[in-house]
C-alpha cells in the first residue's frame, strides 16, 4: 500500500515547513496555494529571525521557541540568512528601567546576550540615535520570507511533494464525519477539480478560520494586521530593537539594501481587505526616527501590510496575545482527517511543522522520527529545478 496522501493548504512558512517535514517522513504531499508562494502573511512580515528577545519578558513560551528555532535554522539554511545579531537599545529612563527585566528574561529563556558599551554600539551602528543609554546584543537575524519558504518547498519537492500555486481551495469534501479531500479551482485554467486526501492540513494562517468553516468547525484566529515601512537605504546591519515591551514602531530590521521599520497592530475582520490607515505610515517613520534619526534623510521605498494569524484568547489586547502557535486536531470537534495549525511565527515554522506532522502521524497510526532539525535544506533556487 502506498504512503498516505496529505494535502497542505497554504504555502506560507507554516505550510512550506509542514510540506517539508511530511515529505521527509515519507508521506505523499500536495501543497495547495491560491497565489504565489508566501504572498501574504509570511511574505510581508518583519523578515526578522527572532532571537526571542522581543518576547523574553511578556511571552516567554514564544521566546524559548524562537531561540531554539533560531539556532536550528542557522544550521539548516546557513547561506540564506543575514546573521548580524540584534541590538536592544534603551533611549529613555523608562527603557533603562526595563533593562533588568530584559536581561533576566534572556537568562530565563536561555537567549545568548551580552551588554556592549554605548560607544561600541555607536561604532557598530553609526546611524543609531546617539542619545542611547544602553545596548544589549542578542542573536537576532534576518531572512527573506519568499526564499525562506522556497528552501523548505524545494527540499519537499526533492522528496516527492507536489506544490501547486494559483490553485485555490474552494471547499472541503466531507463524507460522514471525516474530510476526504478538497475542491479546488486552478486559476491557470479556471477549471475546478477534486483532490482526495487521507488528511487535510489547514496551514492558512489568518484564513484558517475561513477554511475551518468549510469543514464545519471553528478556529479562534484573530487576524491582526501590521504595517511595514521600507526605506531606500540600509542604515543598520544589526536588527535595532527598542528595549521595552513590544509596541508600535519599535524595531528597524535591515535587509538587503534597505531598512524596514515595523510595526503597528490593529484587528481586522477580513485578511483579504487590509486597507492601511494612512496615519500608520507617518507614525512608523516618526517612531523609527527615534531609533535611527537618519531615517529623516531616506525615501520610503515600499509599504506593506499583512495579517498575523494570532490565536484569540478571551478579551485580550492583540499585543498581549501570545505569539506561540496552536495545533487543532478537529476530531475533538467531531471531524476526522482535518488538522489546523495556526498562530506562531515564521521563525518557529519548523517547530510548528514538527508538531502538526506528529499529530498527522498519530491520526494515521504512523510513527516516524522528525528529522528536520538536522536535515540541511536545498537552496531556494532548486524549487525551480
Amino acid at each position: 500500500m502506498s504512503a498516505p496522501h496529505v494535502i497542505v493548504i497554504g504555502a506560507g512558512s507554516t505550510g512550506a515547513a509542514t510540506a517539508h517535514d511530511l515529505a521527509l517522513r515519507g508521506y505523499r504531499v500536495t501543497v495547495l496555494e491560491r497565489g504565489e508562494i508566501a504572498n501574504q502573511t509570511t511574505g510581508r512580515n518583519h523578515c526578522l529571525l527572532h532571537s526571542g528577545g522581543r518576547y523574553c519578558v511578556k511571552d516567554q513560551e514564544s521566546a524559548i521557541e524562537c531561540i531554539d528555532e533560531n539556532l536550528i535554522l542557522r544550521r539548516i539554511m546557513p547561506d540564506a540568512l543575514e546573521l548580524n545579531d540584534g541590538l536592544f537599545v534603551a533611549l529613555t529612563e523608562e527603557d533603562l528601567a526595563f533593562k533588568e527585566k530584559f536581561i533576566a528574561g534572556c537568562e530565563e529563556c536561555h537567549i545568548p546576550f551580552r551588554e556592549i558599551p554605548v560607544k561600541r554600539a555607536l561604532e557598530l551602528e553609526p546611524f543609531l540615535n546617539p542619545k542611547l543609554l544602553a545596548a544589549v546584543q542578542v542573536p537576532d537575524g534576518v531572512f527573506e520570507p519568499w526564499r525562506f519558504c522556497l528552501a523548505f518547498l524545494a527540499t519537499a519537492k526533492k522528496n516527492g511533494a507536489v506544490v501547486r500555486t494559483f490553485t485555490e481551495v474552494t471547499d472541503l469534501i466531507r463524507s460522514g464525519s471525516s474530510i476526504t479531500g478538497v475542491k479546488v479551482v486552478d486559476h491557470r485554467t479556471g477549471k475546478t477539480e477534486v483532490i482526495g486526501a487521507d488528511i487535510v492540513v489547514n496551514a492558512t494562517g489568518p484564513w484558517a478560520g475561513e477554511i475551518a468553516r468549510m469543514g464545519g468547525v471553528d478556529v479562534p484566529v484573530a487576524p491582526t494586521a501590521g504595517v511595514m515601512v521600507t526605506v531606500n537605504r540600509r542604515l543598520n546591519n544589526m536588527v535595532i530593537n527598542r528595549m521595552n515591551k513590544p509596541s508600535d514602531g519599535d524595531i528597524v530590521v535591515p535587509q538587503r539594501t534597505t531598512s524596514i521599520i515595523g510595526t503597528t497592530s490593529w484587528t481586522i475582520l477580513d485578511p483579504d481587505q487590509i486597507d492601511i490607515p494612512p496615519d500608520h505610515i507617518q507614525m512608523m517613520i516618526a517612531k523609527g526616527k527615534e531609533l535611527i534619526p537618519a531615517i529623516e534623510h531616506t525615501v520610503t521605498r515600499g509599504v506593506g501590510a499583512a495579517a498575523r494569524p494570532l490565536i484569540r484568547k478571551a478579551n485580550a489586547d492583540e499585543r498581549e496575545i501570545s505569539r506561540t502557535f496552536e495545533c487543532f486536531d478537529h476530531k475533538y470537534d467531531g471531524v476526522e482527517g482535518f488538522v489546523t495549525i495556526s498562530g506562531g511565527k515564521t521563525t518557529t515554522a519548523r517547530a510548528m511543522a514538527e508538531k502538526v506532522t506528529d499529530i498527522v502521524g498519530q491520526k494515521l497510526g504512523i510513527s516516524v522520527e522528525c528529522r528536520t532539525k538536522e536535515t540541511p535544506l536545498l537552496s531556494y533556487r532548486y524549487f525551480y529545478n
Binding site: 497565489g35 504565489e36 508566501a38 504572498n39 509570511t42 511574505g43 510581508r44 523578515c47 539556532l71 542557522r74 546557513p78 547561506d79 540564506a80 540568512l81 543575514e82 548580524n84 545579531d85 545568548p112 557598530l124 551602528e125 553609526p126 546611524f127 542578542v138 542573536p139 527573506e144 520570507p145 519568499w146 526564499r147 494559483f166 485555490e168 486559476h187 491557470r188 485554467t189 479556471g190 511595514m228 521600507t230 540600509r234 542604515l235 543598520n236 546591519n237 544589526m238 535591515p254 535587509q255 538587503r256 539594501t257 534597505t258 524596514i260 481587505q273 492601511i276 494612512p278 521605498r301 515600499g302 509599504v303 506593506g304 537552496s379 533556487r381 532548486y382 524549487f383 525551480y384 529545478n385
Partner: protein
C-alpha cells in the same frame, strides 16, 4: 486622499485568448502600483499575479507598467500616471506565459543555479561603504565568533533584465544578463580555481557573454542597480585576456 485609477490589465488563461480588461480602482494617492493590482484582484480574484514582500526584495512582482519593466511594489501610482490617463499592466516579456501577469521563471532560475551566485555577501559599513572589519557575532551554538557582517546580494532575481534584453527576445539559449552578472559576482567571491574556470567556461560559451548585443537595456532597467551589462563587458575583457594568454601559451588551457 484617494484617487480613482483606470487600469488596462493584461488577462490570459490557458486555452483562452489574451486580451486587455480595463478596471477602475480607488487607492490612496500615495499608493504603489502593487496596491492597484491588489485592488483589481479584490474585484476579480481569478487574476493571477506574483507578489510577496512589497519592498523590492523578493523580486516576484516584476511586470511591465506602461510597457516599461518595473517592480510595481516600488512604483508610486502618481508616477505611473504621469502624462497618461490610465495605467497599462502586462507580464514580463521573454518568459513563457503562465497566465495573466504570471510568467514561468523556472528556466531563469535554472540558469541562476548554474551561475553559482551566492545570495549573501559581506555587508558594507553603513557610513563610508568600506567593508566592515570582523566583529563579534553569535554563532549557531550561541557562542561568539569574529566575522564581517553579511547581507543579501543586490540581485533579487526579478527577471526584469531578461524582459528588457533584445537578445533574450531572440533566443532562450542566451545565458542572460542576470545569469552573467551572477557569474561575474561569483568569480569575484570565490577563490576556488576549478570553480573559477568552470564559471569562465560557462560565460565563454557561444550563448554566454559573446551573444550579448551590447544594447545596455539590462543595466537601464535593473531596479537594483546590478549593472549586468557592465558585468558582461568585464567578463569579455577577462576572457579576451585569457584567450590571448592561451594563444601564446602563457595561461593554462581550460
Amino acid at each position: 486622499m484617494a484617487i480613482e485609477v483606470p487600469v488596462r490589465m493584461f488577462r490570459y488563461k490557458a486555452g483562452g485568448e489574451p486580451r486587455f480588461e480595463t478596471y477602475r480602482v480607488t487607492v490612496p494617492d500615495d499608493a504603489n502600483v502593487i496596491d492597484v493590482i491588489e485592488m483589481v484582484w479584490r474585484q476579480d480574484t481569478t487574476l493571477m499575479y506574483r507578489h510577496a514582500c512589497h519592498h523590492a526584495s523578493c523580486g516576484t512582482c516584476a511586470v511591465r507598467i506602461n510597457g516599461y519593466e518595473k517592480l510595481p511594489c516600488i512604483v508610486p501610482v502618481k508616477e505611473a500616471l504621469r502624462g497618461r490617463s490610465e495605467i497599462t499592466i502586462e507580464p514580463l516579456r521573454n518568459f513563457p506565459l503562465v497566465g495573466d501577469l504570471v510568467v514561468d521563471v523556472a528556466g531563469f532560475f535554472q540558469k541562476q543555479i548554474a551561475s553559482g551566485l551566492v545570495i549573501t555577501r559581506p555587508a558594507e559599513a553603513t557610513l563610508d561603504g568600506a567593508r566592515y572589519q570582523p566583529v563579534e557575532v553569535f554563532n549557531e551554538s550561541g557562542g561568539l565568533e569574529a566575522r564581517p557582517y553579511n547581507r543579501f546580494e543586490n540581485c533579487i532575481e526579478c527577471g526584469i533584465c531578461i524582459s528588457a534584453c533584445p537578445t533574450m527576445a531572440a533566443t532562450d539559449k542566451f545565458f542572460g544578463p542576470a545569469g552573467l552578472a551572477g557569474i561575474h559576482r561569483a568569480l569575484q567571491t570565490t577563490d576556488d580555481a576549478q570553480k573559477k574556470s568552470l564559471l569562465l567556461a560557462l560565460a565563454d560559451g557561444e550563448h554566454g557573454v559573446w551573444r550579448c548585443h551590447s544594447a545596455w537595456e539590462c543595466t537601464e532597467a535593473c531596479p537594483q542597480n546590478v549593472r549586468p551589462a557592465e558585468a558582461i563587458m568585464a567578463l569579455r575583457r577577462e576572457l579576451i585576456i585569457h584567450k590571448v594568454k592561451t594563444l601564446f601559451g602563457m595561461g593554462a588551457r581550460r
